[in-house]
């Protein structure tokens, strides 16, 4: 109201009855518009936000970025974007459990994006630029273990310029990737290519070198820093009658043997106890070797910890799974296994936060006739390889949020620690350690570093941003786009692109890769489905729908900007923004 009076008084000063135009005529005065920007109490701003896929990725991949480049056919640059955060896109594009897809906002609309499918396609391309080693620094870092954690840590430390040496107890590099995951899931050509690329940065490698034996911990701990990523390869014991007395095969040991080219016969009918990826892998490998595998799991399919797609593929291949069944005792005759005594379970009422407990049904014992038994009920850290006086937690190495152990200059990550046991978590752990080690040398404050580089609220860190810095005028994203911030009305429903795969009957004849991967057309079709959450796509909705005409093209003509002199803060632009790239914040805050 005061502003009105002000204008009235101004006009009154100027116009007497003599110098008004004749009559109630106003000669269009658009210049005297009210500054309605003063009405505002909420301010729309073009913000960049993280997409939830990126926050959900334990490796911190720039999912949205690489998808956008792939959509444009710029595969080399897309791969470069991925390699900025993780050196193993070809691996993850095949074996990851893709938490990014579970977080994908498109899942709330039609189908979540097959991010893994596009990642795999892009990873098979040549990168435009493969990262180069950084200018050499003084410090030297030792890495124990060449699994995904160790390889990633080596990769990032080389980018930072440190000298790195990997100590690997096996003759080959790769850890679980090489020894555990079957080749029909991860062909060795892909794995080896990615490992070679990492080594090409100038990583020193000592194979057949077991930490604590072939090289002492005293030696290792005298390096400027050590990253312990030895993994967990010892089998958890199966506590049933007859276990230690007979040749019950350890799941991981058996897979390792198969992958290294040694053969261990399992006879015709093999029972595999367990419900995780190892158990499923064992079954499918056994099938391909000509056996008739049978998985025995004490709960139901929905509680199996194995990747769901793996379980479904196993079932498609004709593998039998006995759910709600627990082993009781191993039966043998003349030193050879003849069967497994089992009991049926029922599931109890689950307590909050825990899975339902299997309760044996008395009187339901039965004998399963088997030639061999594989126990795949979990892995533990091998005894005797860890340095003394290292704090542990339930048999694995204790670490803080930056991967530091209880010993100075010793970091750890991956399966050897409390980290979740997935490849992508190991990759994230390797990156985290690299940053943490680097900060310990430079004296940078880890808290500030973390805040600057963290993706979203609970995501990983962006090391690519650390290394490359921010381009001038670029907006680093803040916050994560929720599904309700995406306006689905502006997207057409398109089904998820189907991943071609070998026909099930054909799969089991050998170890060829089951999933065939997207061709270029499919990859682009799928990449195009990405909403680009939190990124302005210059669609013009804000411009079209502003009731005040306060959104206009900027002077360069390639994006939109808001005229804050007149914007009333109604929020229609933010509501109609398809990707949630406009945020409404209280006036006066960013």
């Amino acid at each position: 109201m005061n502003q009105r009076k002000q204008i009235g008084q101004d006009v009154q000063k100027r116009y007497t009855y003599c110098d008004l135009p004749i009559g109630d005529v106003s000669i269009g005065m658009p210049a005297e518009r009210r500054k309605t920007g003063l009405w505002r109490y909420l301010k729309p701003q073009f913000v960049r936000k993280f997409s939830p896929c990126r926050e959900a990725c334990p490796a911190g991949n720039d999912v949205e970025g690489f998808l956008a480049l792939a959509d444009q056919g710029r595969y080399g640059e897309a791969l470069e974007r991925l390699l900025g955060e993780s050196p193993l896109p070809g691996v993850c594009g095949r074996v990851c459990f893709h938490p990014c897809e579970s977080a994908c906002n498109r899942g709330a609309f039609d189908d979540a994006l097959s991010i893994q499918g596009v990642e795999r396609f892009v990873a098979d391309w040549e990168p435009t630029n493969f990262p180069a080693p950084g200018p050499p620094r003084r410090e030297k870092v030792a890495i124990v273990g060449s699994g995904p954690a160790g390889l990633t840590c080596a990769y990032h430390l080389r980018r930072l310029g440190y000298e790195v040496t990997i100590f690997e107890k096996q003759a080959v590099l790769g850890g679980m990737l090489q020894l555990g995951i079957p080749t029909y899931r991860l062909p060795r050509e892909t794995l080896d290519r990615e490992i070679d690329r990492i080594l090409g940065l100038g990583v020193n490698v000592e194979t057949r070198c077991l930490a604590g034996y072939d090289i002492s911990w005293e030696n290792l701990l005298s390096w400027d820093a050590v990253f312990l990523a030895a993994g967990a390869h010892a089998a958890t014991e199966l506590r049933i009658q007859g276990y230690s007395a007979n040749e019950v095969i350890s799941g991981t040991a058996w897979l390792e043997a198969v992958n290294l080219g040694r053969s261990v016969s399992v006879g015709s009918r093999v029972g595999i106890i367990g419900g995780g990826n190892t158990a499923v892998d064992c079954a499918r490998v056994a099938l391909r070797l000509g056996a008739k595998p049978l998985i025995i799991y004490r709960r139901t399919q929905s509680e199996m910890p194995a990747i769901r797609a793996e379980v479904e593929e196993a079932l498609q291949e004709g593998i039998e799974i006995q759910w709600l069944t627990s082993p009781v005792a191993i039966r043998s005759r003349n030193g050879r296994i003849v069967g497994l005594e089992c009991i049926r379970n029922r599931l109890s009422e689950p307590e909050p936060g825990r899975r339902a407990r299997p309760e044996p049904i008395s009187g339901s014992d039965f004998l399963m006739e088997l030639d061999s038994v594989i126990a795949a009920v979990g892995e533990t850290v091998e005894g005797g390889i860890l340095p003394p006086s290292l704090r542990d937690e339930q048999g694995v190495v204790w670490i803080d949020e930056w991967g530091r152990t209880s010993l100075p200059r010793l970091w750890a990550g991956g399966d050897v620690t409390t980290d979740p046991r997935m490849v992508v978590h190991a990759i994230g752990a390797g990156k985290r350690a690299a940053l943490s080690i680097h900060a310990s040398f430079t004296g940078e404050d880890l808290g500030q570093l973390g805040e600057r580089l963290r993706i979203g609220v609970k995501g990983s860190f962006s090391i690519d941003r650390y290394l490359k810095g921010d381009p001038p005028g670029a907006m680093f994203p803040k916050g994560v786009v929720r599904p309700d911030e995406v306006n689905f009305n502006y997207f057409e429903s398109v089904k998820r692109t189907c991943m071609p795969s070998l026909e099930p009957g054909y799969r089991v004849r050998g170890f060829s890769e089951v999933n065939l991967g997207y061709d270029e057309q499919r990859a682009r079709d799928e990449a195009r489905r990405c909403f680009q959450c939190g990124t302005c796509r210059v669609c013009g909705n804000c411009y079209v729908f502003c009731p005040d005409g306060s959104v206009r093209l900027d002077s360069a003509g390639c994006s939109y900007e808001i005229d804050y002199e007149y914007c009333k803060g109604c929020g229609v632009c933010a509501n109609e923004c398809p990707t949630g790239a406009i945020a409404m914040d209280a006036e006066g805050e960013i």
Partner: protein
């Protein structure tokens, strides 16, 4: 994905910010689009409507000539202007080939109630102009009182227990006037809107009637950032239909793929808070009947 705005909206603006319409006003959106399509060579007749505010409340104005006579008679204004143009062109005062778009913009109150005679007269005479009824479903400018286009059961300050009569179907009334073009518009569907106005603009001279559905955050009691969403919901639930009548032949221009129940639309508006289940059912029935009739 919606096409880039540059593709559907002409670029130049004749309706500028700095006007005192409520934040989120659908009228601002609609008038801005109309002005972009009709352009510099147009003359406005403004009746009583909230859109008086950016056009005739001193010192605001459009960038084109504009006349406010009184509440009801903007259609008569079209008649007067088009007659004047015809005779002045004959006399050579206005060049014969110059195309001036005469249009009127008026609210639902002045169109359907007090100005209905004027509207019917101008339509019957088929005077040349585009008439836009900005339908925010009540007399909003005077502080939210009911009009004949207020839906049944809606709260307003003059129907605090809900309006008893149903919404007047004015577009169908206008379609019966034998005019070249009648269309319904919505601020939730810009492509449909622009196409229809362009079509009418380029048609042969005659009376063209538009009714714009404008969800009013202030009067319908919903948050002001949901204006466009509410417009969409109205169409998706069948409360408002998008169609055109070209020389008497009706064509639905947008059919939602799935008709949503009216409850999805009315539960978000404060003006429908007092409805019982029976009321909602009645509204659903009304919508269903309307749609059935339209689709025949």
């Amino acid at each position: 994905m919606i096409k880039n705005a540059r593709e559907i909206l002409p670029e130049e603006d004749f309706f500028h910010p700095g006007h005192p319409l409520c934040p989120g006003c659908p009228g601002g959106i609609a008038l801005r689009w109309i002005m972009k399509v009709l352009g510099r060579d147009s003359i406005a007749n403004v009746g009583a409507t909230c859109l008086c505010l950016p056009t005739h409340v001193y010192p605001h104005s459009l960038e084109v000539p504009s006349l406010y006579i009184a509440m009801a008679p903007s259609p008569a204004g079209i008649s007067g202007m088009s007659a004047a143009i015809r005779v002045l062109k004959r006399k050579g005062v206005i060049p014969a080939e110059r195309k001036i778009n005469i249009f009127a913009i008026s609210g639902d109150g002045s169109t359907a109630d007090i100005g209905l005679a004027s509207l019917s007269g101008a339509a019957e005479r088929n005077d040349d102009g585009l008439y836009f009824c900005f339908d925010n479903e009540a007399y909003m400018n005077t502080g939210i009182q009911r009009s004949s286009t207020t839906p049944q059961f809606s709260w307003t300050y003059s129907t605090t227990k809900g309006k008893t009569q149903r919404k007047k179907d004015l577009p169908r009334i206008m379609a019966a006037h034998d005019i070249p073009y009648v269309a319904t518009l919505s601020v939730g569907y810009p492509e449909d809107f622009i196409k229809k106005v362009e079509k009418a603009r380029d048609m042969e001279p005659g009376f063209k009637y538009f009714q714009i559905h404008g969800p009013c955050p202030t009067g319908w009691r919903f948050p002001e950032n949901k204006t466009v969403e509410m417009a969409r919901l109205a169409v998706e639930t069948g409360f408002w239909s998008l169609y055109e009548v070209v020389h008497g032949s009706l064509r639905v221009t947008y059919r939602p793929s799935k008709q949503r129940p009216v409850i999805d639309y009315i539960k978000l508006q404060g003006r429908f808070q007092g409805l019982t289940d029976a009321d909602i059912q009645q509204l659903q029935q009304w919508v269903d009947e309307k749609l059935k009739d339209l689709n025949q």
